[in-house]
């Protein structure tokens, strides 16, 4: 039963993954990504990683996806003309061949791992409560991995600051330089900020 479910979820994940990279519209691509997240979450659950599965759903589906969708809406990327301009593949035949080969090699590396010979796992499912029990995870996070854990909080703080600084709406009067080439050769210098 569980095995069948795993293979079904695998097929679903691969299909969704293909959808992500084949989609014409960004919106569709992001929805496919969501599907892939769900499938993977199911696989984590099957493999005995309950907490990870929940986090995957909460953070990815709950937070990251919303962010994506928000930006798509904000920039109005559903517009038909926009899609025509921005979708598609901007590569020549040679470049496509290189891209395909590289991706193929990465897949090959994964397949190579199939031959490395860890025995089929039969005992894992016997661990009733799963491998990533919340309590053991917490102990580990707050002892052995306290440093990256704390650093991660700093990381989130800095990211927040940075994102705000970059994405904040431009103030009226703030000069914009969109021209081709090097604008400073054509335009006068930036004046002092007109905050």
């Amino acid at each position: 039963m569980a095995e069948t479910l795993f293979y079904l979820l695998s097929i679903g994940a691969i299909a969704c993954g293909a959808g992500v990279i084949r989609a014409r519209m960004p919106l569709f691509s992001v929805l496919c990504l969501l599907g892939a997240f769900f499938c993977l979450s199911g696989i984590y659950l099957l493999a005995g990683f309950q907490f990870l599965a929940v986090t995957q759903l909460l953070v990815y589906a709950g937070a990251i996806m919303v962010l994506f969708l928000f930006v798509i809406m904000l920039l109005n990327l559903g517009d038909e003309n926009e899609i025509a301009r921005q979708s598609g593949i901007a590569l020549s035949g040679k470049q496509l061949a290189v891209a395909g080969t590289s991706a193929g090699v990465f897949a090959l590396i994964g397949v190579l791992t199939a031959g490395y010979g860890i025995a089929p796992v039969e005992t894992a499912s016997t661990r009733a409560s799963g491998i990533d029990e919340l309590q053991t995870l917490a102990v580990e996070l707050f002892s052995r991995y306290m440093l990256p854990f704390e650093a991660a909080s700093l990381l989130l703080l800095l990211t927040m600051i940075g994102v705000i600084a970059i994405a904040k709406r431009q103030r009226a009067g703030e000069p914009t330089h969109t021209g081709a080439g090097f604008p400073w050769t054509k335009e006068p210098l930036d004046e002092e900020s007109t905050l």
Binding site: A90, L91, S102, I109
Partner: protein, 660 residues
Amino acid sequence: MDTSTVSLANELWFVPFLPLLGALLCGALHLAVLRRRKAGGAEAPLQALAGYVACGAIALALGIVVSSWSTLLGGAEAIESGTWNWIDAGSFDIGLSMVFDRLSSVMCLVITGVGLLIHIYSLGYMKGDPGFAKFFAYLNLFVFAMLMLVLSSNLMGLFVGWEGVGLCSYLLIGFWYEKGWPAEAGQKAFIVNRIGDACFLLGSFLLIRLFGTLDLSDVGASVQAVMGEHPGTIALAALLLFGGACGKSAQFPLFTWLPDAMAGPTPVSALIHAATMVTAGIYLLLRLNPLYAAAPSVMLVIGFVGALTAFIGASTAIFQRDIKKVLAYSTVSQLGYMFLGLSTGAWAAALFHLVTHAFFKGLLFLGSGSVIHGMHEEQDMYKMGGLRRHMPRTFITFVAGSAALSGLPLMSGFFSKDEILAMAFASGGLHVALWLVGLAAAAMTAFYTWRMVALTFFGKERFDPEHVHPHESPATMTVPLMILAVFAVFGGVLNLPAVLPGAGMLHHWLEPVTKLGDEILHSTGHELHHLSALSEWCLLGLGSLIALVFAHKGFHAYTSGTEADARARAERPDAVGFLEEAWRIDSTYTRRIVRPIKLAAFLVASVVDQLAIDGAVNGAGSFATSLAQRLRGLVDGSVKNYALWMGAGAAALALSWILI
């Protein structure tokens, strides 16, 4: 080193650092000059002050050198200053001290002595130049670097000086950068030198690997211990270091920069490109004589390179029109002699020639500077002639220098060159062939030297008397000429041949330094052979004969003017052209090396283009630039392309590591 014969003297640090201090002061004065010029004030007093500071610094350094030298005369083998622990990396330490031994004392005397004369000369020569103070700052900086080079107790400190003199040479060659080409000549000199320097560095790494130290005396002392085990590594290290020497001392195939270096002011040519910097390679080989003694095959290579360079240089000088070019190629040729001498194990003979060459070539360059000065910056000998009447003091001293260079009997150059040739002859085997080459070069030397004298000072006045009024130079310039002339004439007494009374002074003086090298040569059966008195007399006679005959030929053919050249050009245009362009080695580099590389680069680049890059990029200019221009296509601004390279690169890296 045996402590009983070494005395400690921290004042040795002052020898290089006084010129450095002078350089800093002159630099500050230059800035002051610039400021005053902007303000419109009088700058001449500041400029003059810079000149005196520079000369004073060198004079003080000379004073210390002479007093230290007197200690050596008293019987000490070497004086060493306290050690500065420069690099302390646990397993690998480098402590730097100044060592004033038999070899470096001679070098220091030449550098500070000839250097002081050239500084004084420059006071007159550079008078009125807006960069007067800057010039002296560079000149002092050069002397600092050169003294570091010869006084350092280890190879690392030597290398600091080595690069320092290169840098100063670059700055001074490009001193008159407003003209455009001096800046380029400076760059060429620097970059060709850097090729040699890369070899030098690698050679020194090999020494670290062999001996675990770069201390020069330790290296020398431990050669004997390892020469049986790693003959290949020793030979490779010696060869790489010789590559460095080739760059600095302008030997084939890296000599092409020296003639171009004549773009600098003439005192620079005299000091750097004749008397001191270019001899750094000789000094290096002398200093490491045990290493070279242990690598006989490399010694032979050195002999070939030296003889070949001597021949190419001398033959090229024959048809030059530019008086400084004649001297430049002559310098290349004379340096070749020194290397030939080293290759026979005649250490003292090479040093002897180095010293006499510093006297007479310094003199000749300064003399030519005086001529150029008097002729309103004219360097073409075809537009001179008959100058002996206009500048008698320059004329007399120039003739003295020429006599020494061409090896007329009893002049300093006669003894030093003959000793090298005699040693080559005595070594037998392949060296006899090299001896013949050297003899031919000596004949050509006599020829072109006296051609130069005849064209410059004799015959009709070929300049336009309306516009050019030749005049004798001021005393600041002629007095150094006279002093140098005395040395050029009588310098031979330093190391007379064995058949004369008072012979081999320099040879005995140098013995403590070359002892190890001689021992190794002895143990490998390559020791110096001694000539019988009869054959020595014969060789001396042969040398005099050749010098006299060819000097006469050269002088006679050109006293009447430039017709001899015109005739030669008409009869053998190809041969003359070939010689004029220094055997076309420079252009061969362009044709044989640069162009095929360009072609290969083009092919490679177009293949790369086919693989991943759209649009060819226009490539032009020199090889590197055109290749670089093509490679610019790699970075075409498209993230996709960068990502493709990354993805493919990572995949290829993973695959290759798995498969290996």
